[in-house]
């Protein structure tokens, strides 16, 4: 670089940095306008009683914490957090187990396995609304092949999504179907990075397959599993299309997660101030989890 500076004159480095800044500035400006600004607006709105029927409430800050006080007393909100936790934990654990199992099964060099790996990705890339549609069909007794098969053998079953005891599990199941490929993919990538020497040495020493997995393979993929779990946990707070199409939060409120409750408050009841407070709570949860991901040293771009 020194030679270039010599050739292009003393102002070259400064000109280069100016050019880079020129390239970076639009993105930063746009991101500021479409992410930080709305986040700030959300926070401000959460301190006001803004709603469709009270549009002048926009700038009333006489009781800024009113929404948050209501939240603490709102049984439906507190219940939605419990539902959210149940759904998130159930579907993330299932995804990790299924994804890990499939990755171990598919980690081989045959052509068939390679092709299978690609097809298994499909649920993850499908439009979420199509995934919801697929499971709507599976859970609707009229058209579901499963329901009809059960009926044919004399075991008619009530639709899982209409039954309050099973609705949440049905959603967790569909969510797992959609997202197990993510864990599968990450674990497969990690499996390919295991050095072969320790495995060879251990199998020469007579280690069983279980011992190989327990003491060599699993410790190697554990960090990936943890990060997968955290990523999926963060994403699970956004669960929407499945709930919207399959149960609409019902029966009753058994599948109404926090995100969905916020949606209802904002766009069915038009209590925008109150819904903003709910969104702030979700946002805080997401940031806390993201911070945990950062703490694990994952996205340190330059650390190798």
């Amino acid at each position: 670089m020194a030679s270039i500076a010599a050739l292009r004159g003393p102002g070259w480095e400064a000109a280069r940095h100016r050019a880079f800044l020129f390239g970076l500035a639009p993105s930063l400006a746009v991101l500021l306008a479409i992410t930080l600004l709305p986040a700030a607006a959300l926070l401000v709105a959460s301190f006001t009683p803004l709603s469709l029927t009270d549009p002048v409430g926009t700038f009333r800050f006489d009781d800024p914490l009113v929404n948050y006080r209501h939240l603490l007393a709102d049984e439906r909100f507190l219940g939605s957090i419990g539902t959210q936790l149940k759904l998130s934990v159930a579907s993330v654990v299932l995804q990790l187990l299924v994804g890990l199992g499939l990755a171990l099964l598919l980690d081989g060099k045959s052509k068939v396995l390679g092709a299978t790996r690609t097809v298994f990705l499909i649920p993850m890339v499908l439009p979420p609304i199509v995934v919801a549609l697929i499971w709507k069909i599976m859970f609707t007794p009229d058209v579901s092949p499963i329901h009809r098969a059960l009926e044919a053998v004399g075991l008619p079953v009530r639709s899982l999504i209409a039954n309050p005891d099973t609705a949440l599990w049905a959603i967790a199941f569909a969510d797992t179907w959609q997202w197990f490929p993510f864990t599968m993919l990450m674990v497969l990538a990690s499996l390919q990075m295991i050095p072969s020497d320790p495995i060879e040495a251990a199998s020469l020493d007579g280690a069983t397959r279980w011992q190989l997995f327990r003491y060599i393979v699993f410790p190697h993929i554990r960090p990936v599993l943890i990060v997968c779990g955290l990523f999926r946990l963060i994403d699970s707070f956004k669960a929407f299309p499945l709930i919207y199409v399959l149960t609409d939060g019902g029966p009753g409120t058994v599948t109404e997660v926090t995100n969905y409750y916020g949606f209802i408050q904002a766009f069915n009841f038009s209590y925008w101030g109150y819904a903003s407070a709910i969104a702030v709570v979700i946002l805080a949860g997401v940031f806390l989890l993201s911070w945990a991901v950062g703490k694990l040293g994952w996205n340190d771009h330059d650390r190798r």
Binding site: S3, I4, L7, R8, A15, H17, A19, F20, F22, P26, S27, V30, T35, P38, A39, A45, L105, L106, G108, K109, L113, G114, A115, T118, V119, F120, I122, P123, V125, L126, P127, P128, I134, I137, M138, P145, A152, W177, F182, L185, A189, L191, M193, E200, I234, K238, F240, V245, F263, A266, F267, W272, A275, I278, V280, I282, N299, D300, H301, D302
Partner: protein, 296 residues
């Protein structure tokens, strides 16, 4: 950055060398040799069954919809009925808004990705991380402010408004992903161009960008898919004019819930571009889907 990608690419299709650890035996029984592949294919059929059911439903005559048999004469009735309503318009809207958002995010994000790759300034890592975190934020946090602002700005129910909202996730994808592709281009090539009198952006345009073209194409595809797949923003920020295909499907479900052939046909059409793209660019796609997830 590049350290992780071969492994990820390898996860999908590329062969690993050190697989068979056991010494090669002569004439293993067929089941033992192929048992794993057999199990994989059987599992695949079970797991993909609901997906295949949707597709076959789209070709089923409406009269047979409540029949169990898989033996029916395939028909395009379902697809034909889509031509009559507003579905075509929503499909077109989806195409337009996804394309617009892709072009916008590439135009704004690519130079930024390049600057972040080549310019190591203090605070750079923090900015890169912030950009990634914006992708993690729950959409509900953005929709309420955007909804209120769009009512006021008159952007509600417009394609442009929706395309702008999609920047909230697409811009992060472009900036994050393109950095990995720019890093693969040796800086020496640009330095040669500088010596020949090129400016920074001239060298970028003539040397770096053409070399990163495959990565650019893959990034564009990913942006398109993410916009195409969106449901939440479109549901809230559109009403009639700018309604996208996923929202149209939900409208079918709500107002014409008995016409399963038609609904299945619309679902099949909406997922078609995504499945085609997946097959076309699967290795790059994998990199984008796991962006930020695999340690670099």
């Amino acid at each position: 950055m590049t350290g992780a990608s071969p492994a990820i690419d390898g996860a999908i299709g590329v062969v690993r060398e050190d697989e068979d650890l056991a010494p090669p035996r002569r004439r293993r029984p067929w089941l033992q040799a192929h048992g794993r592949a057999l199990a994989a294919v059987l599992l695949l059929l079970v797991v993909m069954f609901p997906f295949l059911w949707l597709v076959q439903l789209a070709f089923k005559p409406a009269a047979d919809i409540f029949e169990d048999g898989l033996l029916f004469t395939p028909t395009l009735e379902g697809f034909a009925s889509l031509l009559q309503g507003n579905f075509l318009k929503s499909f077109w809207n989806s195409l337009a808004v996804s394309t617009l958002s892709t072009v916008l995010s590439l135009a704004i994000g690519v130079p930024a990705a390049y600057a972040l790759t080549r310019w190591r300034f203090p605070g750079r890592d923090r900015i890169a991380l912030w950009i990634l975190v914006t992708r993690m934020a729950p959409p509900i946090a953005f929709t309420i402010p955007f909804f209120l602002a769009y009512r006021w700005l008159g952007l509600q129910d417009t394609l442009v408004g929706l395309a702008i909202v999609y920047l909230t996730f697409n811009l992060a994808i472009v900036i994050w992903l393109m950095q990995t592709f720019f890093e693969a281009v040796p800086p020496a090539l640009e330095e040669a161009a500088y010596i020949d009198g090129c400016g920074v952006w001239q060298a970028f345009w003539r040397i770096t960008l053409p070399l990163a073209a495959p990565g650019l194409a893959a990034t564009a595809v990913l942006c398109f898919i993410f916009s195409w797949n969106d449901f939440f923003y479109a549901l809230i920020l559109t009403r009639t004019n700018a309604i996208t295909a996923p929202v149209a499907i939900v409208n079918f479900l709500q107002y014409e819930g008995w016409e399963w052939t038609k609904i299945a046909a619309s679902g099949t059409l909406v997922m078609l571009p995504v499945v085609i793209f997946t097959v076309l660019v699967r290795t790059y796609l994998v990199r984008g889907l796991t962006a930020g997830g695999v340690k670099d």
